[in-house]
């Protein structure tokens, strides 16, 4: 019920078109890059998927993070703009469930954007690497890994957006964190797993011994930011 409610609140906000547009923009990256540099990529000895990911994922990940930032800001701007959040606070509904409803909606739309990007990578692999076989299972696993790597970023951004009634503050914070995250080197395991940096990691580039640590670290962070929101929701009444 909460999921349907949160989705309904987003009517006419442009939330779904933003995710579709953002997903398509990120999906266009491998298409354009491979189209204009076909010979550079097709001459490489590796499998198509690692080639495509190495060449494009940096920009695709950054666009996806920015999409998550915009989505989280928009979802809470809808709450605060005409004080809808205040009305929700006066109704017999658990505030925590509303937050996790928003989390579910944003995650679903992020999945949609990532699916478009995966489809674009598959198309690029089939179209520009006709001589090589494409390992679809590997691609699906990598995209599943990217979703898990995005979870802490999504939860932290949603938490940040819930803190500020002005969308500009949360948007500014999100954009700064996006660029800070992109500056973190991938060779430092712990640093590269913090929110806004973790989505740049690619499954095929992570050593098999580190995969479970990466997944566990992201799931723990997601829970941690979720708990921070619960604490915030329960303590804000003392200070307001």
């Amino acid at each position: 019920m909460i999921f349907a409610l949160e989705l309904k609140k987003l009517r006419r906000t442009g939330f779904i078109p933003i995710f579709l547009g953002g997903g398509l923009t990120a999906a266009a990256v491998p298409l354009i890059n491979t189209a204009v540099r076909t010979e550079t990529f097709s001459g490489l000895p590796e499998e198509p998927f690692p080639i495509l990911m190495d060449a494009n994922w940096g920009l695709m990940a950054q666009l996806t993070i920015l999409l998550v930032v915009c989505g989280c800001c928009l979802i809470y701007h809808t709450e605060y703009a005409d004080r809808g959040a205040l009305k929700m606070n006066t109704l017999p509904v658990c505030q925590t469930s509303l937050f996790f409803g928003k989390f579910s909606v944003t995650l679903l739309l992020t999945l949609l954007a990532l699916s478009l990007q995966t489809a674009s990578l598959i198309f690029s692999g089939i179209h520009w690497f006709p001589d090589k076989s494409l390992n679809l299972w590997e691609m699906i696993q990598d995209m599943g890994f990217e979703i898990i790597m995005l979870l802490p970023t999504l939860t932290l951004m949603l938490f940040t957006a819930s803190l500020f009634q002005s969308m500009w503050l949360s948007l500014g914070t999100g954009v700064i964190l996006t660029f800070l995250g992109s500056m973190i080197q991938e060779d430092h395991l712990i640093l590269s797993l913090i929110p806004f940096a973790a989505p740049y990691r690619m499954l095929h580039a992570v050593s098999p011994a580190d995969i479970s640590s990466c997944i566990l670290a992201c799931i723990i962070q997601t829970f941690l930011f979720g708990i921070m929101e619960i604490i915030y929701l329960h303590t804000r009444r003392i200070f307001t």
Partner: protein, 253 residues
Amino acid sequence: MNIIETIQLTKNYGDFTAVSEMNLHIPKGHIYGFLGPNGAGKSTTMKMFLGLTNPTSGYFTIDGKTLSSGRIPILKKIGSLIEAPAFYGNLTGTENLDIIRRILGLPKSSIDEVLELTGLTQHQKRQVKKYSLGMKQRLGLAGALIGKPPILILDEPTNGLDPVGIHEIRSLIRSLPKQYDCTVLVSSHLLSEIELLADDVGILNHGRLLFEGTMEALKDYASHAGYPADNLEETFLAMIQTDNAARKWGDFK
């Protein structure tokens, strides 16, 4: 029987005391007028009832329930309109009410009922951001009335309405206890408003409850205390001025 009671209810914001040791008694089935100048603590008290802010000390009971038993059992009993109408501007009037309806688990027919009651039926398909201030206020009222809650908390419900709208809303509020068997707590800084609406009145100034009782009791109190009793507007002003002077004298000493 009192449906709402506060016991030494206090709310401080740092050094500032918004509500000071307030003991309110709101009888079931009555319209209770909460009267006071701006900043007297009316909205803060109402926000505490709705669990939007926690009391610094003291407590309150609503239909026998305290805040310690959780906000949700209390909120199930209350329909509210606080400060200004709160809604989603991107949604239509019907869609806004549908969100409230779903949360309260009411039938779809409850939306048409409150739209009719607040005179918004013909504007139900319009996005709320395109509503006039008066229409927004009516929608806020519809959001409070949906589901016929046993307690209604209305913070200055006639704000932004034209004289005809004020009259309509006033008549509607006046009819609610009989129609819906509910108790209404309505705040205003206009005595004339409260005089026409309320059975009981509580007068607040700087967070302190100066008087509580029926309109008749207020007149008796005014004549005994030497305040002008013929005109309630003057009674109210005299009470506030006396209290302000006493506070200044206290500060000076």
